[in-house]
Amino acid sequence: MLVHYIDLSWRSLKRTPLVSFLMILAIAVGIGITMTSLSVYHMMSMDPIPQKSSQLFTLQLNTTDDGTTLWTEDNMPMQLTYKDAMRLHTAETPARKTASMRSGFTVHMNNQELKPFLSEARLTGRDFFPMFDRDFVFGSAWTLEQEQSSSPVVVINEELNDRLFGGENSVGKQVYLDDTAFRVVGVMKQWDIYTKYYDLNNGAFNSPEPMFIPITLVAPMQIASWGNNNGWKYEGISTFEGQLKSETFWLQFWVELSTAAQVRDYRAYLQAYLEEQGKLGRYTRAVPKFNIQNVNEWMEYNNVVSEDNKILVGLSFLFLAVCLANILGLLLGKFLTRAPEIGVRRALGASKRQIFLQHLVEVSLLGFLGGVLGIVVAQLGLWGIRSTSNDYNALATMDVNMLLAAPTIAISACIIAGLYPAWLVCRTQPAIYLKTQ
């Protein structure tokens, strides 16, 4: 029966080619626009590490005086001070934790063959790799001993490994960062994520850094951050030492907490820590305030999906509504014109349900065709976005979910739009339409 209905529907569409074309076009454009903005939204807001996102938490500690206002909505600093970050980094609890900072170096091999180039680098603890599920192609992360002794070791990613060492196993080989010789201890698998969720302060859609070195090198090598530095009070800092001791915020901190109990325990720990720091006279604050947010909460807090994007998605759906109203009007007209034929069918024994079903199949076919065409329109739209701005190269694409969503949304929308006309047609008395007029 379904095949029969599809056949009937196809013939019906062919009978009024212009109207059918206009309807399919209207759906296609509506779906195309909606999918364009929805795809970007989807990519931006996607959980980047779904298997662990609720177990990885980032910290914000309010180490300012009571009454200090910052530029965030809840007046919480976005990063930590060096003192706090390193103190928590070397604490006993929890099992996995890491301070984190972005910097950069000139990379060269101290020979004439390779032209020196600039590369970003991330400074972290060794826990970073298991925490964020980073696998290694060769070697592994540095050892605890290397970290504690501030050894000049580096983990590089596959791309950098290809560039410097032709893709071979480079563990143990040497590379110069600025003028210091570093030894490669591991080659990390390429990290393909759309959103740089572990550091949203400095370019949410940049690629992850190609090099990782121990955070314990910050002090001895006097490595400056390439990220944001924010202060809340005047401190007259003039040396790197001063910077390390200051209340400026310039490092990030992540922990892994697998159970609710662990979260509770850690909250208590931080509470105690902040109270202690307050008593030491660093700041005057009656009630310690801190935020622990998991990956998705952190992305939300940082407004990764921009306002503009949310507005566009909203407007797109409204646009789709207009297209649907368009189609509804045309469907009404088309179905009601066909009423005499329906009258004949009913006289010949078709039940209301069968008529209703026939029409729903017809609108579904319309939706399907419109949805498929809509994918083409969306691809065009996404291409347009990609060609405007490099930032969106990875974001402005349709993944499998979006590709399936397009015809699904189209068919659902058409069915909703078609319900009323279909119901109208099947409920009128056949006799009326068998009379001549």
Partner: protein, 401 residues
């Protein structure tokens, strides 16, 4: 003549089709009004003047990885080399590049920071006496920095005592207009205002105070140093192509990066807004087209459905113009109702957007022009099929069904 009452009654009787058109028109009015408001706001933002001769200026960063280098001395040589390139008007070391999205800012106050008091948020550039000329900015009051007032040092033991500020910053701190000669405080350090400059923007166009800028005559050459160069406009491309080689010849333990003209820099900073602008424009163009086509299609459909009726009317004495005006009136009734509904919805949507997001308040001008525009394209969309309808022969009335 206008048969308003019967047309209205007949619309009420066959509501559904007209209702759909009404809904379309209302939604279109609602969307287009708000979208055009956002579009114009963005266009205004994007076309704002930065104050700089953007086509003449480019910047780049130098990463020096020679541990043993005397940075201050080396960069003095570099600056001299750059200034001597034919076609270059001036060049200087800066701590930040305008409109790049990256830089430094602080609160400059009337009292030392430790004593509190009023301060104004301001971006600051640290550069020597060539700063103004390199940026192409003129002075409106006072004088430029003298070479002997510039502090070049790797430490902060000695600090400059003077500062140049923009007129906007001067007006904020000294509303009476007497900024020249006054002292302002960078933290606890006093700086005398010796000159007031014309409008120039800081590194962030989206800052809360984008044109509060101070120029402090302090140069501390760093291993990651930014340099700004100003050239004759038509020489810039050629010079930019040579820059990396010239810089590496000057000292080869360097990496040159981020070479970009100021206008491109601004474009990058504004990429997201430009994108939003384009998408919104595409959206409303498509929306208006869909609505126009919808009206067209529905009218054609109605006419086909009512062919017999039209023939009958002609037989009963209707002129061709009466037939056209019949459809026009029908359409205008739907249009006016739809746009009225749409205008109210537009106001509501505008209010909602204002509350949730940082968009400007919806000016009723946008609603009015949208309504007028929609009515116009609506009438145009009806005219063509209506014209065809008028040509239906009255003899249709006598043809058998």
């Amino acid at each position: 003549m206008l048969e308003i009452k019967p047309i209205f009654n007949s619309l009420l009787r066959s509501k559904a089709g007209a209702l759909m058109l009404l809904v379309q028109i209302a939604l279109t009015t609602m969307i287009v009004s708000n979208a055009s408001s956002i579009i114009f706001d963005r266009m205004e933002y994007l076309s704002q003047a930065t104050g700089y001769p953007e086509a003449e200026i480019f910047s780049f960063s130098v990463m020096s990885f020679d541990k043993n280098l005397d940075l201050t001395q080396k960069f003095e040589e570099t600056e001299t080399m750059l200034r001597n390139i034919p076609g270059v008007k001036n060049a200087a070391l800066f701590n930040a590049v305008p409109v790049s999205g990256s830089g430094s800012a602080t609160g400059l106050g009337l009292q030392p920071a430790s004593e509190g008091g009023q301060d104004a948020r301001s971006a600051y550039y640290m550069a020597d006496e060539n700063a103004l000329d390199t940026l192409g900015i003129s002075l409106v009051e006072g004088r430029n920095i003298r070479p002997d007032e510039v502090i070049e040092s790797q430490t902060r033991e000695i600090l400059p005592k003077i500062v140049l500020i923009t007129k906007t910053l001067a007006d904020e701190l000294f509303p009476a207009g007497d900024a020249l000669g006054q002292t302002i405080y960078f933290g606890d350090k006093p700086l005398e205002v010796i000159g007031i400059t014309a409008k120039m923007m800081g590194p962030w166009l989206k800052d809360s105070r984008p044109d509060n800028v101070a120029i402090i005559p302090f140069v501390s050459a760093s291993i990651f140093q930014k340099i700004i160069v100003r050239t004759e406009a038509n020489q810039r491309t050629a010079i930019m192509r040579q820059i990396e080689n010239l810089m590496l010849e000057d000292h080869n333990k360097r990496v040159i990066t981020g070479l970009q003209g100021m206008d491109d820099e601004k474009q990058n900073y504004n990429a997201a807004d430009t994108l939003m602008l384009r998408m919104l424009i595409v959206l409303i163009v498509l929306l208006l087209s869909v609505t126009a086509l919808g009206i067209f299609g529905l009218t054609v459909f109605n006419i086909n459905k009512r062919t017999k009726q039209i023939g009958t009317r002609r037989a009963l004495g209707a002129r061709k113009s009466s037939i056209i005006s019949y459809f026009l009136v029908e359409n205008v009734i739907i249009c006016l109702t739809g746009t009225a509904l749409g205008s109210i919805s537009a106001i509501l949507l505008g209010q909602g957007l204002l509350d949730l997001y940082s968009v400007p308040a919806l000016n009723s001008l946008y609603i009015i022009s949208t309504v007028l525009f929609i009515i116009t394209i609506s009438i145009l969309s009806v005219l063509i099929p209506a014209n065809k309808a008028a040509n239906i022969s009255p003899s249709i009335a006598t043809r058998s069904i």
